[in-house]
Symmetry: C2
Subunit: 466 residues, 2 copies
């Protein structure tokens, strides 16, 4: 019988937290394994952020081509091949997953497909898959098992009539003729934009009073206006009730206060957030301190059980890949004495439909609720030469700053390149920069980024182009 | 006879420095006039940055549409209407110029079309145009007359066979069948990309050893490779001699060392930089301290003559609109006691072809020449999920940092969204940030901006995805 292999670190889960943690440990010269049930890259890379961005790019280009005439161009016979669009998204995901697998080899990460389970601290077993029954000793475990899509109670996901984002990313021959998207957060908004672009009749249903409920109210209003102009039907403050799954359609009742309205669609996509996904990752003997299924950790990303760490979505919000990667790197750095681990402080959030949305820090609403004083600066892309030249004048940048110190408290962007522009605010907030400093920073002309500088200047009453 | 109007400030020139200075003075409640020979917005807005970006957008979209199949889209016929493409660029410029004129009214700037001339300090005359003969008294003058395209000696610009960037932006029915672009800087590269996209046979001729001579060498090599793949013929280290303008073509000799090669093209675009444009702005009685035609100023943007200030391109490099605007705001702020004026320290440079180029701070070559020690971090867009999903994996981010303090010394980007990504480095350098701080900043996933973070991490040997 072979000796039980001994690791410095075993990572359970190969998503953005897990694979990044494993690579980082490999970089630090540690003997590390990563056990992933499906494929390196996890949900984000294989069934989330990455394939969805490929789909959105096709949608963006398709809609842009419809406007070709505006740009002096002529298009005859514009068509799309939905199966090919979906297949491209799979190819992109596959390419990126192969990239992670390459990095595993490069950094000498042992990569096992299977279900990893912590038997007791220091011992990990693979309990399913081809490596089933393998045991490993390890000094440290990092739980990085992430989240999965929340489902509606009593509404089984069948992948045809009822889907979560995951099933909606599975290749199919044509878009649904009609779709109800329950939940108007980032994921719901992205599917709405994508499917609407390719001709699905899209209805969004959001129980909260605004679309993209986590975002600034003005941003949400702008998105709703834009989506409605694109042809998407939106019901906010509305519940979907009496969902009846038939052979070819789903019937729903949309309930808003006393008003009830019937809706029949080919497909329902449920996009109502995520739940913790710790199933099978620890044996019942390991008593982890949990909070609604999420693993509690200390400032070193260590759980209540010594030697068991956790990072990524499984330790709670923000449930975002970039926060997961950040946590993973810091957990591993801390574990192996490479600096003091940092916790997530300022993490941007992005929605990749068009117009894009990106934000960081406090919204006005949150500032009011917390009693934080603030001043606002706004700047519209309509006043930005590059945006007009690019035919993308929609949206604005909005900055919240401390009225006394001028420190940036939050930023909210809606517009064509919002998701790229937000990083400058992320750096600014990491450095506790002020709006004066941002205003004093030369932004190239002409760029969308000038709106960032002008919004900062607007807080001071010094924006030029408005 | 009406009394001579008295101003707090008269700005001569209505380009990025001039119109911004006038607006800023208006914001500060000053009585201000702006005298512009052609139209508010100057060269940049009317015959430079802005219309060229409109043209480039059409080219980008056209080339992207040719790749539609990659994205699962189908096109039966693809055409372009060159006259319409050019006309759109005029409409965009017109819209932005109207925007400046609106701001002039909003901030109570008196706007005169004409040639302004400082007779003596405190007195300005309009010497040409409909307001010819008007005199104004003023406490301060700001010279913001900018630059104009440098021409080749003995080669008159006729707008047909021989053009500068300006004539090349004048609407015409079709692109030239063939064009030689003399000078492979930012402007030359943009025209090469644009005209090549629409079928012109483009030859670039650059006397220096690399295209985009001001940029990092690796960036230049990447651009050259990309341009050649696009079909552009490039001659570096090459002079154009014996330029013979005929009826329908221009004949040139390309001279590289001992090698001579003949070239015949329909049109030549001369894009070899700029010269100072102070003509007529000061009377011979005003003895300004000049340097090769550019106006010398002190730390308050004041010339050697009290009460006469200058800002923008006319005070020397960097000859870029954003630097001009920055200087204008600071000159006016200082003039009227609104804080201490700042001088341009870190100013990004951008080239808007595809792949785009953007940079700030030291190149490796400059660091070596100055004896500045540095470490390099590089990260390719090929390893960025968003870039792959968007079908834009070309290019990289490269960061130079101080090996001791880790302070960022320079950044060089080539890739699809380079001109937007550079602003984060501009902020970082304004704040004297380190690569550690940039690495510790959460960048949203998936974005092109992750390459910025990873390149910073690469300086430290801590990039994850490579």
């Amino acid at each position: 019988m072979a000796e039980t292999p001994v690791y410095d670190l075993i990572v359970i889960g190969g998503g953005p937290a897990g694979y990044v943690a494993a690579i980082r440990a490999g970089q630090l010269g540690k003997k590390v394994a990563c056990i992933e049930l499906e494929r390196a890259g996890g949900t984000c890379l294989n069934w989330g952020c990455i394939p969805s961005k490929a789909l959105l790019k096709s949608a963006e280009l398709y809609l842009k081509m419809k406007q070709a005439e505006t740009f002096g161009l002529g298009v005859q016979g514009l068509t799309f091949d939905f199966a090919k669009i979906m297949q491209r998204s799979r190819n992109v995901a596959d390419q990126m997953a192969k990239g992670v697998e390459f990095l595993f080899r490069k950094y000498k990460v042992d990569y096992f497909i299977g279900l990893g389970q912590v038997t007791v601290p220091g011992l990990v077993e693979i309990t399913a898959g081809e490596h089933k029954g393998k045991f490993f000793k390890t000094q440290n475990v990092l739980l990085a098992t992430g989240c999965k899509a929340r489902r509606l109670p009593d509404l089984p996901v069948d992948g045809e009539r009822i889907m979560t984002s995951r099933e909606a990313l599975v290749p199919r021959a044509r878009p649904p003729a009609s779709v109800a998207i329950i939940g108007a957060g980032a994921i719901g908004a992205e599917f709405a934009y994508f499917l609407n672009a390719f001709g699905s009749k899209v209805t969004m249903i959001e129980v909260l009073p605004q679309v993209v409920p986590a975002e600034d109210e003005e941003v949400a209003r702008t998105l709703q206006r834009s989506f409605e102009k694109q042809g998407i039907v939106i019901h906010t403050g509305t519940k979907a009730e009496n969902i009846q799954v038939g052979q070819d359609t789903v019937k729903l009742e949309l309930v808003k206060g006393d008003h009830r309205e019937a809706l029949e669609v080919e497909t329902v996509i449920v996009a109502i957030g995520v739940v913790a996904n710790l199933e099978g990752a620890v044996s019942p003997k390991v008593k982890l301190d949990l909070d609604r299924g999420f693993v509690n950790v200390d400032g070193n990303y260590q759980t209540n059980v010594k030697g068991i760490y956790a990072a990524g979505d499984i330790i709670g919000p923000p449930w975002l890949a970039h926060a997961a990667m950040f946590r993973a790197v810091n957990a591993v750095n801390g574990m192996f004495g490479h600096g003091t681990p940092r916790l997530v402080k300022n993490s941007p959030g992005c929605t990749y439909c068009q117009p894009q949305i990106a934000s960081i820090g406090l919204t006005e609403k949150a500032a009011k609720e917390k009693g934080v004083a603030y001043k606002v600066g706004r700047f519209p892309f309509l006043a930005v030469g590059k945006a007009v030249a690019a035919g993308e004048p929609e949206g604005f940048v909005k900055v919240l700053a401390d009225p006394t110190t001028a420190e940036i408290l939050g930023a909210h962007i809606i517009g064509a390149d919002a998701t790229e522009l937000i990083s400058e605010f992320s750096l600014a907030m990491t450095l506790e920069a002020t709006v004066d400093e941002m205003h004093a920073t030369i932004h190239p002309h002409p760029t969308f980024g000038e709106a960032v500088m002008e919004a900062a200047a607007a807080v001071l009453g010094e924006a030029i182009h408005i």
